[in-house]
């Protein structure tokens, strides 16, 4: 599904990712852990195609295609979804309208027909219910005045709505209370399938108790310095980054 090789990325002329390699097969869930500033969000933005994230060298292949050559909206239409660490507010645009616009834009890019307002409403309602997102929230402007947890739940709602092939979750667990964490994890687990791959970025073992990963990678200084199975997350929790980094050096 996703193969990253020797990826070097610079932001404002500063190299952040320094030879990162990673590959995820369909059906797998991978976790990335790493200290603050190690380059996790940078990786997620590069995958989504954000402007200003310059690929110096290396390659990213997504379902056999060169991902870097695609415009961000094209990636979205082809199934790349990024649940952002800091979801953005758009004043005056109701959440419902945003969801409808996005869903139909993706469909149109794939040559599919638009779904009408009522159809989208039905779809969204059904998914929102499972995530405990109220009707009232859907009528409000996108993310404006939403609590941290509400914003994160809305990201997961979008993931459920768009049914992406590759979902990247950047610290979706931070800011969630224990119950919300469970709700979000259930939402993610509900989407696990043999055709879908997920990349879960997190600081906490806690999330990985709910979303059990196939592989865990430790990102430090713009490189993967260690990887292993789900037990690596426990090891990290016990030892802390400093020791893992020392061991890897």
């Amino acid at each position: 599904m996703l193969e990253i090789e020797g990826l070097h990325v610079a932001v404002s002329g500063k190299e952040i990712l320094k030879g990162l390699s990673l590959s995820i097969a369909a059906g797998e869930v991978h976790a990335i852990m790493g200290p603050n500033g190690s380059g996790k969000s940078t990786l997620s933005y590069v995958l989504a195609g954000r402007e200003g994230y310059e690929i110096i060298s290396g390659s990213i292949r997504y379902r056999g295609e060169d991902l870097a050559a695609m415009a961000p909206e094209e990636r979205a239409a082809k199934g790349v979804f990024l649940a952002m660490q800091y979801p953005v507010e758009i004043p005056g645009v109701t959440t419902m309208n945003f969801l409808k616009t996005a869903l139909n834009a993706q469909r149109r890019a794939r040559g599919e027909k638009d779904i009408d307002a009522l159809g989208v409403l039905r779809l969204v309602r059904e998914k929102a219910k499972a995530l405990h997102i109220s009707e009232e929230m859907l009528k409000r402007a996108l993310n404006v005045g939403f609590s941290g947890g509400e914003k994160k739940r809305l990201e997961i709602l979008q993931m459920a709505l768009f049914e992406p092939a590759l979902a990247i979750l950047d610290e979706t667990d931070s800011g969630l209370d224990i119950d919300a964490l469970k709700v979000v994890a259930d939402g993610v687990n509900g989407l696990r399938s043999s055709e879908r791959a997920m990349l879960v970025i997190t600081h906490y073992q806690r999330l990985l108790n709910h979303i059990v990963p196939d592989r865990v990678h430790v990102l430090y200084g713009g490189r993967i310095i260690k990887e292993g199975g789900k037990e690596l997350a426990h090891e990290l929790e016990a030892k802390g980054y400093a020791e893992i980094i020392r061991e890897a050096a």
Partner: protein, 483 residues
């Protein structure tokens, strides 16, 4: 959602300005240039009574002594008033169509292209339409239903013939003949426009609407609208405007006068989409318009809503004279300027009565190399105890070459007045755009979505059936502004 439809529509038409077609209809014109004879010609064409001709001639003589205003932040080459036509009418309309069937099918076709359903669609929507093609009103629908309610809605030329007392009493009573250069010019040469009278206690049973279109080459358009809401009545009125694409600049100098008597309410909405000129700033309409409402009676209310997306230059300040005690004035505005468009627009709220209130919400969007100025005056007369004003002026910049300017004037001569002014200037944030792109929304659609969100408070003021059209326009007029 609206933005999506827009893009499709535009793609289907293969051009940016979908109203830019020219209808090939034979025109009857006044001789070129402006003189007493031109004024007499127009008056005669309209079969006007002597008093009306005298009124026009008075305006004409006055205008000859006036100078074009220069205080607005707009720049253009001098207008040659002698090198334009002041009257152009479709020849087939010369005998005056009595019903829709009698109208030149080409005109109907034009209206269909414009998306003005002068037919069943409109019936369903329950909108009464007065369509002004160049200078002549060609069709007024719904006359009967309106006359049952006692509402008069007709071309102003007809009102001059049929309701001279009303016209004499109110014409020029809000915007005096001598008001300003463009209003005075209009008074001399106006050729048509709409007239509305809503009698005491009547709630007008439907939205009233006028569509203006400049079609003929080298003509100016000078329509004149007069709306009178008698005591305790209510009316909502909408005007839309389009013009063909032409390399030359065409002058549009309209005057709108509103009178609200005691307890009456007038809601006046404009969706202005005159041809804005091309990407290099060539051509486009000079939109120099005087609009003023007079809250003449106590507890009356006048509300202006405007969506200004077209015109090369917009010079327009719909205002309220809050004369009656407890009267209310509102101004909701969206002004979009892209490429080389220049907009200098805003409002004036004159608080004259006690406990008068006004509210101003202005959303200015600048893109390309456009200049967009909000110019607003809030004045409180010594007699206007407890006057209240709230002004909110938001500017949005797209790209780095455009300009947004806010020029608020406040003149308060009563200590009990409370005036609040808020202003913001912002850009479409990169993270907002990225968020939309990541969710699959292409750039231009994302811009349209974000800008529509920015304008929401104003769009909400429009009658439902026009709000959708306005949202689409926002998308169209900003095309090519990013990337």
């Amino acid at each position: 959602m609206a933005a999506l439809e827009t893009r499709e529509q535009v793609a289907a038409l293969g051009e940016k300005y979908k109203y830019g077609f020219v209808t090939d209809i034979e025109m009857e014109r006044a001789p070129k240039g402006l003189s007493e004879d031109t004024v007499r010609f127009i008056s005669a064409k309209k079969g006007e009574p002597e008093w009306m001709l005298e009124w026009r001639l008075g305006a004409y003589r006055r205008w000859r002594q006036m100078r074009e205003p220069t205080w607005a932040r707009v720049h253009y080459d001098p207008i040659d008033y002698e090198n334009a036509y002041y009257y152009a009418a479709p020849k087939s309309a010369a005998d005056g169509p009595k019903s829709l069937d009698e109208i030149d099918p080409k005109l109907i076709e034009t209206y269909n292209k414009l998306g003005i359903p002068l037919n069943e669609q409109m019936l369903l929507a329950g909108v009464a339409v007065d369509a002004v093609f160049d200078s002549v009103s060609v069709a007024t629908t719904f006359k009967e239903k309106l006359s049952e309610a006692g509402v008069i809605f007709c071309p102003i030329s007809e009102a001059i013939r049929d309701y001279p007392e009303l016209v004499k009493k109110y014409l020029g009573s809000v915007v005096p003949v001598t008001d300003n250069f463009f209003a005075t010019l209009n008074s001399a040469v106006f050729s048509d426009g709409s007239f509305v009278y809503v009698p005491k206690g009547v709630r007008c049973p439907m939205e009233l609407s006028t569509y203006f279109r400049i079609n003929a080459q080298g003509t100016g358009q000078f329509e004149r609208t007069l709306i009178i809401a008698d005591e305790g009545s209510y009316v909502s009125y909408l005007e839309g405007c389009t013009a063909p694409k032409r390399d030359e600049n065409q002058l549009h100098a309209a005057v709108v006068e509103l009178v609200a008597l005691e307890g009456a309410e007038i809601k006046y909405s404009t969706v202005q989409n005159w041809y804005p000129g091309d990407e290099e700033g060539k051509g486009g309409i000079y939109n120099f318009v005087t609009k003023r409402g007079d809250c003449r009676g106590a507890r009356s209310k006048i509300s202006w809503t405007q969506v200004e997306t077209g015109s090369a230059i917009t010079w327009k300040y719909p205002s309220c004279l809050l004369r009656g005690d407890d009267s209310v004035g509102e101004f909701y505005s969206i002004a979009i300027a892209n490429h080389f468009q220049q907009a200098d627009t805003g409002t004036k709220m004159h608080h004259l009565g006690k406990n008068t209130r006004s509210r101003i919400i202005s959303k200015g969007i600048s893109a390309g190399q456009a200049q967009n100025t909000y110019r607003g005056l809030v004045s409180v007369h010594p007699r206007a105890a407890n006057a209240r004003n709230y002004t909110q002026c938001d500017s949005l910049l797209i790209g780095g070459k455009c300009g947004a300017h806010t020029v608020p004037y406040i003149e308060s001569r009563n200590k009990s007045a409370r005036i609040e002014h808020e202003a913001t200037t912002s850009k479409i944030a990169e993270d907002q755009l990225f968020y939309c792109l990541q969710r699959g929304i292409p750039q231009e659609e994302a811009v349209a979505l974000i800008v529509n969100g920015f304008c929401r408070e104003v769009l909400q003021q429009l009658p439902m059936e026009f709000a959708v059209e306005a949202q689409k326009l926002v998308g169209i007029s900003l095309e090519g502004s990013v990337g």
